[in-house]
Amino acid sequence: MNVHLLSLLVFSPLLGIVMVALMPKKEERTIKQFGFFGTLPPLFLSFFLCSQYYSGVALSLFDIKLNWIRFGNLEMYDPKLFTVDFELGLDGLSLIFILLTTIISSLAAIASIYIKQGWKGYYLLFLILEIGMLGVFTAENLILFFIFFEMTLIPAFFLIGRWGFLEREKASYSFLIYNGIGSAVLLVAILVLFARTGTTNIAALTQIMTMGGVSLFAPISGSMKFGLCLAFLVAFAIKLPVFPFHSWMVRVHAEAPPSIVMIHAGVLLKIGAYGMIRFGMGIFPEQYKSLAFTVVLFGVLSFLYGAFLALVQTDFKLVLAYSSISHMGIVMMGLGALNEAGIQGAIFQVISHGLIAALLFFLVAVLYERTGTTMLPKLGGLAKSMPIFSGFMLACGLASLGLPGMSGFISEFMVFLGLFKSQPLLAAIGVIGLVLTAVYILRAVMLMTFGKNDRLVEKEKRDLRGWELVPATVLLGLIISVGVYPNLLGGPLQGTIKAMMLALGGR
């Protein structure tokens, strides 16, 4: 049964899709329940995989490979030439991303209770989105990766454009265009590799790119390798997003429904980081090394830029949007550090930000439901009427600014540890951002929870209650447990990072 476990995991949301699709349109309650239940099979399967891993089963046992597409008619040279197989696989890195995906998807499905209309379409798209995300992190070849990558794009476009706030269509268009350009660049890079080497398998490509290999048609020159590496980095930098490519993401954060932003900030942005690690660093270690300074530079730029702009926003959603850009800057800084601490820190930051952002946007969803606004000047004194909510908000804010004992601290600490070793100057400039982060987060949280409460639009304000406590507690629990016991993540990552360091020259 091991053989098909991964495809079962990736396509298990289909069960939910069928259930939701069979429901009549008007059955709001049932559709919402089925939509949530649809996210459970992948969740349990990912827990099962995780338990297998911790009990010592090798993850490569779960790899599957099926013949799929053969392009051209070149089998007289080599039957494997220009074939694309359906191959899924796992390693520590993807396992962690899978867990992040399944957990956040389930919690976001709970948070989707606030969706006011069109539940059926919403949950259908939501579950398709989940299939795409799971596929992205398990795909073992570039074409498959790209297919799943695009599979996240289309549902997200509709989810933003149909169920978002006032300017949703603009937001979904800019999401589409930016990400479309990103995936276009990615596609070109993938196809150049495919055309020149005849394979898209990641392991095979890593081998060919680092050790050299025979090419049937035209070789890949050194400068072309450099260009390809750059293309991968740019494509994923748009996805991440890094400073000059960020404007779409701000719009999406501000206009998309909060439950989708949980997914978006929690998982979708992380595909960018995942891609950089897997493809930028993994396939082109030599070229990546020469680009490391640029990577750090843009990391520092986004870190500071995001922090400065978050400082002056009056809409809480925008504060969070710019804070996301800022935090993704930290990821870039860690990835550019080129040493174990830096890379590990970057991955920790990816996971930690995924959890924190998901929690924050869950709280935004609650807030918007209760007060109908997210504008800071209109909010205040929430601590009095909603103490539990405010407590979560404060805790989450503290995690976000990197308080020791929370996940944010571990990641920032390790990133700077690594960066001071390799790029001390940029690291020193980057540290300013840490101060700014503390300022903007505390400012926003304080304005909301304390301050005068008479500014609030009068409306019934219920505190977090019942099922609403589930996502909040789970996420906060994860944030704290990663912060207290980082080896939870460190263990599975060990192997991947070791391999990376070996390819990068073991600095």
Partner: protein, 508 residues
């Protein structure tokens, strides 16, 4: 010609053509003698039967070796078989479309003509795909063109239709004249009209003077044929004609006529210019030397098609520009010639994808346009709420046209890209233009989807779908998804059946 010689030919090779011709004749006679009040719509099923029979006879011919009859003017080689299959498949779908056509006014009284003119046009395209010399090629081309001129003007009380028909005749006439002019040079230089003989002569030709003339001939033929496939800058006729003609005819023009255009381009280019020598030493192939012209035209076509489509509000005009852009993508495949490995099967696969997604999209457009009496993009508004299944089907076609993974259109584009990158130096500029065009196309394709899903309902009228039309929709949706998820079914079929098209490439 002796009677015995006539009998000695293997006429079986022409079976599909005979069936189509026979059906067309039966239909025209029936149309003549059937009483006026008899509904001509029933002729559609007869026409469909003819097409299916032709298709079956073609399938039975698949395993045959290359047959060449009528002193090598008619060849049934792998190329002909592959493209005839495509033509018949597309034609069958369009007949079903036409069966379900319910215009505000017009087509009803001319239904009979529509079906047999459609079949003669199809016959022309089929003759083109298996012609062995310039004369048959040209006869096929003219048969196709003349039939389609009339088809475009079918709604004779409609001013737009009349205008379209007039424009089409004039433009088409000019393009035919230019093509013929180019062909006359080719005849002059080689002294033969047989493609095989011509290519042998041209391969051996290293005289600079003659090569100059050959270049001229290439240029003329290419310009003339660019009209046919609506490649920029010779695309101007397309939007007006798409707007004026009845929808099934538009589907015919954008699919069958386009396939036929590429058939003749590949026939002439691959059999004549591929191996002709390009310089006085015979070191460089002619097409290799001159494919920069095809490449620039491809780039231009992609840019113009996609950019102008952004500003269209009339659905048919929008699809006209989209079809121009797709002609550009296909020309990229022709221009890159990927070492011979990614050419014919690439074009074939892309055209197959195009048949499925474009006919499907036109089916939806026809349905909505005929019910609302308008062709503005806003007729799509609220389709997602009014008829979810229709909307999802339409979404599949649009996503496929935009080249989103999971659909046939994506695999088609992938194939073309592989062809552009596989050579050294790769055609990076061309690929860049193509990918940029694709991103631009997202804007208008998704603009259509925005209408479908985000906008409030336009009219409350219930949508009725005729069975023929729903059959088209179902076939196209299944095909688009199936060949997108498991493209191997089609790719393996074409590789197993036709190999490398070796009998076509090495026919000289």
């Amino acid at each position: 010609m002796e009677w015995n010689t006539m009998l000695s030919y293997d006429w079986g090779a022409m079976m599909p053509e005979f069936i189509i011709l026979g059906t067309a004749m039966i239909l025209s006679i029936l149309d003549l003698f059937w009483p006026k009040h008899f509904n001509r719509r029933k002729l559609a099923w007869l026409a469909l039967t003819g097409i299916i029979l032709a298709c079956l006879s073609l399938i039975s011919l698949l395993s045959f070796e290359t047959v060449s009859i009528l002193s090598d003017t008619f060849r049934l080689d792998s190329f002909a078989k592959a493209f005839k299959l495509l033509l018949l498949f597309g034609a069958g779908l369009i007949i079903l479309l036409a069966e379900g056509y319910e215009p505000q006014e017009g087509l009803r009284e001319h239904r009979g003509e529509f079906y047999y003119l459609f079949l003669t046009a199809l016959l022309g395209a089929m003759v083109m795909s298996s012609s062995g010399d310039l004369i048959t090629l040209f006869v096929g081309l003219e048969l196709l063109s003349l039939s389609s001129y009339i088809l475009v003007g079918m709604r004779k009380h409609d001013r737009k239709s009349n205008e379209a028909s007039m424009k089409y005749v004039i433009n088409g006439g000019i393009s035919t004249a230019i093509t013929l002019f180019g062909m006359s040079y080719l005849y002059g230089v080689t002294g033969s009209v047989n493609l095989g003989e011509m290519s042998r002569t041209m391969a051996a030709m290293t005289d600079g003077q003659l090569q100059y003339i050959m270049g001229l001939a290439f240029f003329m033929v290419f310009v003339g044929l660019s009209f046919k496939i609506a490649a920029a800058p010779f695309h101007m006729w397309a939007p007006d004609i798409y707007e004026g003609a009845p929808t099934p005819v538009v589907a015919f023009l954008s699919v069958i006529s386009k396939i036929a255009g590429f058939v003749i381009i590949l026939r002439i280019f691959l059999s004549l210019f591929l191996t002709a020598s390009g310089d006085t030493f015979g070191a460089l192939d002619f097409l290799e030397k001159n494919n920069i012209y095809i490449a620039s035209l491809a780039g231009l076509t992609i840019i113009i098609g996609n950019v102008v489509a952004l500003r269209q509000h009339n659905l048919k005009r929008l699809f006209a520009y989209s079809s121009i852009a797709h002609a550009g993508y296909l020309l990229v495949a022709v221009a890159t010639l990927g070492g011979g490995y990614f050419l014919i099967d690439t074009v074939w696969f892309y055209l197959m994808a195009y048949v499925l997604m474009n006919i499907g999209a036109f089916a939806v457009i026809q349905l909505l346009a005929s019910q609302s009496g308008s062709e503005d993009i806003s007729i799509l508004a609220g389709l997602g709420r009014k008829s979810p299944f229709l909307a999802i089907g339409f979404t599949v076609f649009i996503l496929s046209l935009a080249g989103i993974p999971g659909t046939t259109g994506f695999i088609g584009k992938l194939n073309i890209f592989l062809g552009t990158f596989i050579t050294e130096p790769g055609h990076f500029v061309l690929a860049g233009i193509m990918i940029a065009g694709t991103v631009v196309s997202y804007v208008y394709y998704f603009g259509i989807l925005v209408q479908v899903f985000f906008r409030p309902i336009h009219s409350e009228k219930v949508i009725k779908i005729r069975s023929g039309l729903s059959a088209v929709l179902i076939i196209c949706v299944i095909g688009t998804i199936l060949f997108g998820v498991a493209p191997n079914i089609a790719l393996d079929f074409i590789h197993d059946q036709f190999g490398e098209f070796t009998d076509f490439i090495s026919s000289k």
